[in-house]
Amino acid sequence: MRFELDPEVVLFAESVRAAIGAWQPPREPDLGGWHDDRDDELAARVAEAGWAELWAGEDLLPAAVAGGIELGRAAAPVCLVDEATLGAPLWLDGRSRHALSSASLAVAEPRGGLGLGPPSSEARPELTLDGSGTVLVDVSATGRLEEVAATACWRAWNAATLAYLAGLAQHALALAVEHARTREQFGAPLGSLPAVQSRLAGAALATDSVTLLAWTATANDGGLQPDALRFAGSACCEVTASAHQVHGAVGFALETGLHAYHRRARSVASWAAAAADAAH
């Protein structure tokens, strides 16, 4: 048991971070409109850094976590998680993300199964909370992956999703801590108020919890981990909500950018919970 990563995994995280570069989620999207933050240039850069085909071996799980955290920190498009781990956009409950023009969809099937199949209907955009390009679409008969392959895909998706949630939480917490340090009220930084300290301590506890669960997923030899996915989803939402509370009104302004983390956290948590449901 050790609490340190191999240096090469740290380097991989740095290479994904560099590939993300200055990319940021849209700051002022059309609320209540349909929005797809898919970015093919970003996808190409992270693929070049090695963020691809993460199902291919258990020894890639540390990379799935290290890179997933970086993607979460940037609130990067979630298609980067689905396509690098499942090979196609995830399809659940009649919906898929970032799948407006996908030739193939990854279908969650009962008891941890996974199928791949083409859309059988026109993709109809569905307005959703975040900009993850959700579409309502039907899938024709799917080719069901062999159990070993399906498990490997879900294992990678599980690790990367937990990591993405950890990254979202880490960034939201870092923004909130920075705000609490620099914003002064009553003649002192907000962070000197015990109530604010208490709230941020809770957020730090939740963030570390999700981060530790993500790294532990590198030792997972099964597929989805419903326990970790459910807890991590709600914990991440708790962190982003706390970050908003600490920011006060300024966080409510779209130009601040925190909203992207709050909305994406809820979205990923719901998809994670739905995947956990499908695992039974």
Binding site: M1, R2, F3, D6, E8, V9, L11, F12, E14, S15, R17, G50, A52, E53, W55, A56, G57, D59, L60, P62, A63, A84, G87, A88, S104, L116, G143, R144, L145, E146, V148, A149, A174, V177, E178, A180, G191, S192, Q197, S198, L200, A201, A204, L205, D208, S209, V210, T211, L212, L213, W215, T216, A219, D227, A228, R230, F231, A232, S234, D277
Partner: protein, 428 residues
């Protein structure tokens, strides 16, 4: 991206590469650094928690001992009423743990230990807790007091005390809190005056676990009243039957007892000083770092969760409650990781204050959430309390009572949050 729509992906070109092949060298990338101090925390959350074979064997050893000791406890009414058994008292169990060589795991072999790590000890405590062994005397004697003695006591005192503690023959209680010094421990007023080769101690301690059973007491006292607060504090140890020490026990909500200690002209040899005179605050803080890693509570909560799920399944209620049970399991897994991380920091000799505060917060909140959710999910049968024939041996009712104290004992959650914010996040 190459996609395989037919099934196995094992034969794909990318299938054989390993993690090192997808790494890009650092020279070609710009490395962003986080300006925020939370980075310090995250640097310690990169983790590979595969247990070694030796750790698996050690955990199995503790599990087997716990299973063997549990049946003999069933007739004890105190055991049935105790809502968080890690708070329970038993000299017999402590002795059995000593006989099995499970006390003092982290100490050197020459003082009765095994030279293992605090992570190993946490794994053992989790396994023992799963069987709901009464562990209060063990925890006080080894983890909080014993480990501080091992680090801070003079060689003669270490030699005198650690061996008997490791054998389960010598037990300790810890006299820290006072009627006017609870969360604000640094305001303690119990006075120790050095007269020749002994201290004379006068004062009043309260909320002391296991004092009615313990052999010795570990006392935080004020040795220099002219120094402010945490300066001028020292730590002493003494047999509990030293003249002038009076113990009064009183029953508490969780089951069992807490005690108050009256100290009236108690003479303690100067050789029983732990650490340096007037520098006892460092010893106290170190002690609390150990106390706040509550792996044993998590083991007990894991048993409750296992039994809760079994009961819901056997009564066809699991499908409707699966999401809540799974979320609790996820929270338990995270709490265990937080405990192990804090233990790992102690093993490295690094500051563990924020990490151990987080570990205790996670454990305490889980205890309360599990008690609330468990009672709700079980319905009226969950109200059974100390009724061993009831579902979960009637433990949920007891846990509901006892978990009230989980965010109070060992440090109020409100104060622990400030520790996390100030030491972990650099606020304040």
């Amino acid at each position: 991206m190459v996609r395989d729509r037919t099934g196995s992906r094992e034969a794909e070109p990318g299938a054989t590469r390993d993690a090192t092949e997808i790494v890009r060298g650092p020279s070609s990338v710009s490395i962003q650094t986080c300006r925020c101090s939370t980075r310090r925390v995250y640097d310690r959350t990169r983790v590979d928690l595969r247990l070694t074979d030796a750790q698996l064997a050690l955990r199995d050893e503790a599990d087997a001992l716990g299973a063997s000791l549990r049946p003999a406890l069933a007739d004890d009414p105190e055991w049935r009423r105790q809502g968080l058994l890690s708070d329970g008292d038993s000299r017999e169990v402590t002795r059995a743990l000593g006989d099995a060589g499970l006390i003092g795991l982290t100490w050197p072999e020459e003082v009765g230990g095994r030279g293992l790590t605090h992570v190993d000890a946490a794994l053992v405590e989790d396994a023992l807790g799963y069987h709901w062994l009464p562990l209060s005397l063990y925890l006080l004697s080894y983890k909080t007091v014993g480990c501080a003695l091992e680090r801070f006591a003079a060689p003669a005192l270490r030699e005198r005390l650690l061996g008997p503690i490791a054998r389960g023959e010598l037990t300790f209680c810890q006299g820290f809190s006072e009627p006017e010094a609870g969360s604000d421990l640094a305001s303690l007023t119990t006075r120790a005056t050095l007269q020749d080769d002994r201290f004379v101690v006068n004062g009043h301690k309260i909320w002391t676990s296991s004092a009615w059973l313990a052999d010795w007491i570990y006392l935080a006292v004020r040795t220099n009243p002219d120094e402010p607060r945490h300066r001028g504090v020292s730590v002493l140890v003494a047999p509990i039957d030293t003249p002038g020490i009076e113990v009064r026990r009183f029953p508490v909500l969780g089951g069992g007892f807490l005690c108050e200690i009256f100290l009236d002209g108690v003479e303690i040899p100067a050789a029983n000083l732990v650490g340096e005179l007037n520098r006892g605050w460092d010893v106290v803080m170190h002690t609390l770092d150990f106390e706040r890693i509550t792996a044993e509570k998590l083991g007990g909560l894991a048993w409750v969760l296992d039994e809760l799920e079994r009961r819901l399944r056997s009564t066809n209620r699991l499908d409707g409650s699966r999401a809540r049970v799974e979320a609790l399991r996820g929270e338990l897994a995270a709490a265990r990781l937080l405990s192990l991380r804090a233990a790992d920091l102690l093993d490295r000799g690094e500051s563990a204050s924020a990490a151990s505060a987080m570990a205790q917060l996670a454990s305490a909140r889980l205890a309360q959430r599990l008690a609330r959710d468990g009672i709700e999910l079980l319905g009226v049968e969950g109200l059974a309390d100390a009724q061993t024939s009831a579902p979960l041996e009637g433990r949920i009712g007891g846990l509901y009572r006892a978990s009230v104290g989980s965010t109070i004992s060992g440090g109020s959650a409100d104060i622990l949050e400030l520790v996390v914010a100030r030491r972990g996040l650099g606020l304040g």
